[in-house]
Symmetry: C2
DNA sequence: TCAAAAGTGTTGTGAATACACCCATGG
DNA sequence: CCATGGGTGTATTCACAACACTTTTGA
């Protein structure tokens, strides 16, 4: 890398943008802020900010998470998605951004950022169905992050990060249904999940819902990968939720 | 993102590093250059260079590819892997790098870079088995890119990008075996590949090898994804190649 | 005729679906 | 007793691994 025929090496700003998903009221929601400055003043945007000296991108993401949501990043799943580098993506100048995907349970405190900007949970469907304007290339970033999240649910155990512990198999299934957008067979889903090694750790307790039989409670196990994977291929597309 | 409490926004250099894989003599090879300057003078490193003004990262990757390998990037598969941002990853200062994965057929011309640096194909096994020193965090980048390549072979049709057209099913199978590191059953592999829609496009021609029955020739089809995927889970780990 | 690689056919095993059915609770 | 969701059992279907077997060539 370095040591190139260094013609015109560019020095530019780098930011981190966060796609923070949660499941609220049976819908996938994303945390958006309202922009207070130009450009895109008044439009919605992903939370995020500049990388500071000495920070890794992961650290920037964690810090922004804390600043925007007052949440400890250790309670969330956080992973890098990719970098976006269109030279015209920010009208003010050259800014490369690295998108991060964050998954977490529905937050008790309704997300008051430490700075003045308004932060609000918004149904992803509302954003993607075209009505809402997102600043910069944030619509593209959202689409990519959503696709990443859907794929991650197939191969990893991150879905459980959406659930406050302890949780039931039914709650976990609803996460899959909401993120993927179609219904799953409860009995087959149950088998897959309980068979997967170290995914669900029974607490021995039960939860008594308003209606219906009580459900066994689980905690997240140590496994990071879901083996075998739960693919969203072919069948099972029973119905859009 | 922008519009933050802009304390200490950092301005830093951004580079692109290329992990260029090919299959040569039944081994996975990577293109490495020998560093002519400090730091890591004399050590091997990934080819790459600075992002220039007005360039997207993809364009930087394509340009570096051309400069280092004299190859047209359109002949290769090229995709972004991820960004690396440890503040100490470059002893000279803050440099964030974005890694790209490039896959291509064994190159006829033996890779003469336009600049003076020596570029050479090196077996990946030799690098990862600990002997060779790689500059910066390039060993980590290589490991990540290799894992990405292995996963991509499961779900996409990129394996065919390793093969000069036209190619046989056997040649394609050898790609999988070399990248994954274990043997596959020829007959089952054949079925999977020929069943997958628009992966292999028969030319109607045959190739007559030095020994054995002639093999039907194929060109790459239009499909980008391999459906259903060819998973490297569980069985089939017959033998390390 | 033999070796070697291409290519076809078949069979057994296990996973996924679809669905019937029972369980435990609140009302 | 009913509605509701939790949870178990099971038959059918389907994909895959394993492997026997045939084909087509050069030597």
């Amino acid at each position: 890398m370095i040591g190139t025929t260094g013609r015109d090496p560019e020095v530019c700003s780098v930011t981190v943008d966060l796609v923070i998903f949660t499941v609220r009221d049976g819908e996938l929601n994303i945390l958006l802020i309202e922009r207070g400055n130009e450009p895109f003043r008044g439009a919605s945007a992903l939370p995020g900010g500049y990388v500071r000296p000495g920070e890794t991108l992961d650290q920037t993401a964690l810090r922004e998470l804390r600043e925007e949501t007052s949440l400890d990043g250790r309670e969330l799943h956080l992973e890098q998605v990719r970098a976006y580098s269109d030279p015209d993506r920010d009208p003010r100048g050259r800014v490369i951004t690295v998108a991060y995907l964050a998954l977490g349970p529905d937050l008790p405190r309704p997300v008051a950022g430490t700075d003045a900007r308004q932060a609000a949970w918004t149904p992803v469907a509302e954003v993607l169905e075209g009505r809402m304007i997102l600043a910069f290339d944030h619509r593209t970033i959202l689409r990519d992050a959503l696709e990443r999240a859907r794929t991650q649910l197939e191969h990893t155990t991150v879905a459980a990060r959406f659930c406050p512990e302890p949780f039931t198999v039914g709650e976990l299934r609803r996460i899959y249904e909401v993120v993927w957008g179609f219904k799953l067979d409860p009995s087959n889903f149950r088998r897959k999940m309980t068979r997967a090694e170290a995914f669900l750790e029974p607490t021995g307790e039960q939860r008594f819902p308003e209606v219906g039989r009580p459900a066994a409670l689980y905690r997240r196990g140590s496994a990071r990968f879901l083996i075998p994977p739960l693919l969203r291929t072919g069948a099972s597309r029973d119905e859009v939720v």
